[in-house]
Symmetry: C2
Subunit: 366 residues, 2 copies
């Protein structure tokens, strides 16, 4: 059997393509991560976070960990969002408790003008090996999601040299030297297209673009400096592989007010954070795209009955668009942002089970 | 002459009430602050930030500093957003470089049940004295804005005990013990009403409610835990004093998608951060409210010609609603958030002068 055939549980892929499903599929951003003791154990064995990302066997191991605990409907490649700029030569490292940093942030014009897109099959071979390894290990059970940061989000890190509270350095460049900013974004967009297409060829069955910092831009700058580049990426992606359609999800955190514009770039699904009502979102985009989201990750800190109640509220909010002809069609349940490292794992089980049971009941009642 | 009569320059008040104006008035959130060397000098003399807030003469001095540098159309009371919880007994202090903290954050149910609204004319006398002092010093030149944090924003600090990246403690209470959360918000809303009304009686000619953290809430939780309490405050505010209408501005940072709901709570104006297009916002709310905003504070780090270009873009975006019958009516120019401490003061002058000259030209052309 071809490893690219549809998985046994294809509910996630069907929901992204707005095909009928028996229940609402669910996965969680950062589902393989620090809230799981077994993840922390593997990370200790790897020696560091970067070693873990760069070792395909260990990356595969942590990718599968949440799937053996919870009835998740998709796996997502375990990797770092900054592998692409690292492969561009910026020197990614992690200072203890400080998040990611670059040894050589982009500041000088001559360095920026010399930036080139890396060959993902050479410089990011470890990611492609991890994708292939995970596909083998999943053995056709659930689909595997590949991912990349958006050009704008990657550029924020590349210019700032790490996380930033106000994006002062990168925004100063944006307002003062839009030509330089566009050059960085063009090269990075090419790199992201190549990176995602290589993941698809290696076995990723859906891809997601994380625009974590797009919401920090003004209404006008978002369109020019983030959305335009994601549109170009979506246009250049391989949208089918081995006879199967490969859906593409675009997620701009804080992008709820720009939903219509995002839905128009040609993606199959739009991710939403918890500030947007799913029913209203559905009315705004109609049948153009599927929607993914959008429980507040902090709701997972409540008691189990409250977690279940919030999960039902999110599911019901999607159904509240009474103008929609088909119920439960085109919704992938997720958090509105990555799961917190402090989340009690037992509440994740309550969440996943509630999404399945409540959405099966809703479907049956329709 | 009564100190409450309309100021000589009443453009700001007229714009808030959507009366015709000759140009677009401008002031800047946190305009009296660390980007001004003279502010830092006064703060050094005061010994600490809290001493500065609690000394009416020095608070007056820093309030007036930006007005002698720039042609601003309003002054805003210099004070801290956390004076109310401090007066409730939580023990506000500032750890060096760490932002505000409370000695006694709200955690225990018995403490929360014992919370009471302070008498602003007793426990916040220094604020009322500062308001009166500033009104005397302004001598009828431009109007004085009073302000308070929103109940939700104050509650975030009160429960977290300081700033927070994820609001985990306060959101756990919100999801797990909504009864306790509502109790805190009810008492705090009463305190804010009393506080703002006392500021109005002391001479504030407009008031603004800063909901800095409302944007961290889910669509549903925002309505229940933030907006509902701001609506109650707006309903209970003294809306006129000494024969003059006292306009009220509500600003939820990150609240752009909820603009219609905010405009419906009875305020005169809605503040917007830079993620919302002013022309679209105007189409969405029609003539219900004036709009205040919304330049990205980081645009002030570009070169002066780029600062001027961005200021014109924001002004023109407001005018882009061609369905509006009156041009330049109901817009107060501001940043989309507080000015950064690293802002070059000379760029602020470029900004203020550009807003005035460009909007005079637009008005003349209409």
């Amino acid at each position: 059997m071809s490893p690219s055939a549809r998985p046994k549980n294809d509910t996630f892929l069907r929901a992204l393509l707005r095909e009928p499903v028996d229940y609402t599929p669910v996965w969680l951003m950062r589902q393989a991560g620090r809230y799981l003791p077994e993840y922390n154990e593997t990370r200790r064995r790897a020696g560091s976070f970067l070693n873990l990302c760069k070792n395909p066997q260990l990356a595969c191991e942590v990718t599968l960990q949440p799937l053996s605990r919870f009835e998740l409907d998709a796996a997502i490649l375990f990797s770092d969002i900054l592998t692409v700029p690292d492969a561009m030569g910026l020197g990614l490292y992690f200072a203890d408790g400080e998040g990611p940093k670059f040894e050589r942030p982009l500041r000088e014009e001559w360095v920026i003008r010399g930036l080139t897109a890396p060959d993902p099959n050479v410089h990011l071979r470890y990611v492609m090996d991890a994708v292939a390894e995970i596909r083998r290990a999943l053995d056709g059970s659930v689909p595997l999601i590949g991912f990349s940061g958006s050009p704008w989000t990657l550029a924020c890190y590349m210019v700032e040299g790490g996380s930033s509270a106000d994006y002062r350095t990168v925004k100063t460049m944006l307002y003062d030297r839009p030509d330089l900013m566009h050059h960085i974004l063009q090269v990075t967009a090419t790199a992201v297209v190549d990176y995602l297409n290589a993941q698809i060829e290696s076995g990723a069955q859906a891809v997601m673009i994380f625009d974590s910092w797009g919401g920090a831009l003004s209404h006008a700058a978002y369109r020019e400096f983030s959305l335009a580049y994601m549109q170009r990426i979506v246009a250049d992606l391989k949208r089918s592989h081995d006879g199967q359609r490969v859906p593409c999800i675009v997620f701009t955190k804080g992008g709820g007010q720009w939903l219509e514009a995002i839905a128009d770039i040609g993606c199959d699904a739009v991710g939403l954070d918890w500030t947007t009502d799913l029913g209203e979102a559905r009315r705004r985009v109609g049948n153009r795209v599927a929607l993914q989201g959008n429980l507040d990750p902090m709701a997972l800190f409540a008691s189990p009955d409250k977690v279940a109640a919030e999960a039902r509220r999110v599911l019901d909010s999607f159904e509240s668009d009474s103008s929609a002809s088909e119920k439960s069609c085109g919704h992938v349940f997720n958090l509105g942002h990555g799961i917190s490292q402090f989340t009690p794992p037992e509440n994740v089980k309550v969440l996943v089970d509630t999404v399945h049971s409540h959405s099966r009941r809703s479907s049956a009642g329709s």
